[in-house]
Symmetry: C3
Subunit: 136 residues, 3 copies
């Protein structure tokens, strides 16, 4: 049964930073030899997220702004008494730890304006992303 | 290896508009001949989203309201200098570009009150949704 | 074609309550006999969500706070005229009805701080979660 697993390693430089991993995911799909199916991109970290959207420079700044503001709930966050990154966890929960993208003809079947992003929410750090390709 | 791909085409009429695509997804699952597995529903557009919830008329208005308000960050959005739809992109990132639904006995295994929705965030436009069924 | 389906049953006690289901999901993956692939965890309810993050006690309180506040849109919600739980539906749409986790060596491939959570948003109630393992 065709399943292929790969791990992408990366280093983030900012506290909140979207990193375009489309090329790495496409490489994992190519390596898998799987022509049609799906590819699941999942982060194993709790203060990061994964999403699919446009790589336009201004939008990347807006994503950083959103990740910082949306989780300002206006009340003290309890997790900050243990570790000062509660907002990073909440951003990870809202945006999500994984995405699934169709695979067609040996490639991620993305739209014209779509790229796959790893979103650092508590950097800078060394991070990994798990890529699983399933199909035939 | 059983994988089946289909594309749903639709036209949206409003700027923000949820479109119930449950029947189309169920049709794609039926066509696939796959009895048990999962179905992945993914949008290739960056100003749309996909979600699963109730088709009650009032709730659909609330979803429209949420999509418009939640991404008003109270600061100028940078992507609006390129294209006046930054909020549509941010809504797509928050709600998500794909959902995965179990398949049982040749049907999407949805709960009593669940329907599958395509969410237009920058319409009206012609749109597509990619459906991939995997299983056996 | 290796596909394995399981249903987790649980009872929630609070109105908004995260329930750690990592052990149940790991059990379903073990039962499946599938070594490598993915596991999809999906809720069939429209006033619940599923997410992956840290089980730290303070963070669980922050998640409850976020689920309650983020969907206070500052306008009357229309679904509340039918049923007084519009915010629970909106929280389910934002956080999402399903997650996908890689499976490696017969186990969910989670990070050090990751657990899988079912999130009750309109409890207390009896609930189910659908687990589907796919791979080889």
């Amino acid at each position: 049964m065709p399943t292929h697993a790969a791990v992408i390693s990366l280093s983030t430089k900012g506290r909140i930073e979207p990193v375009d991993i489309t090329g790495d995911v496409a490489g994992a799909v190519r390596e898998s030899g799987i022509a049609d199916g799906i590819v699941c991109i999942a982060t194993p970290h709790t203060t990061t997220a994964v999403y699919v959207n446009e790589p336009e420079r201004g939008l990347l700044q807006d994503v950083v702004e959103m990740a910082g503001r949306l989780t300002e709930l206006g009340v003290p966050l309890q997790h900050n008494r243990v570790d000062r990154n509660a907002q990073a966890h909440l951003g990870g929960i809202l945006i999500g730890n994984s995405v699934t993208v169709p695979v067609r003809d040996g490639q991620p079947r993305l739209g014209t304006w779509q790229s796959i992003f790893f979103l650092e929410l508590d950097g800078p750090r060394s991070r990994r992303v798990c890529v699983t390709v399933i199909g035939g």
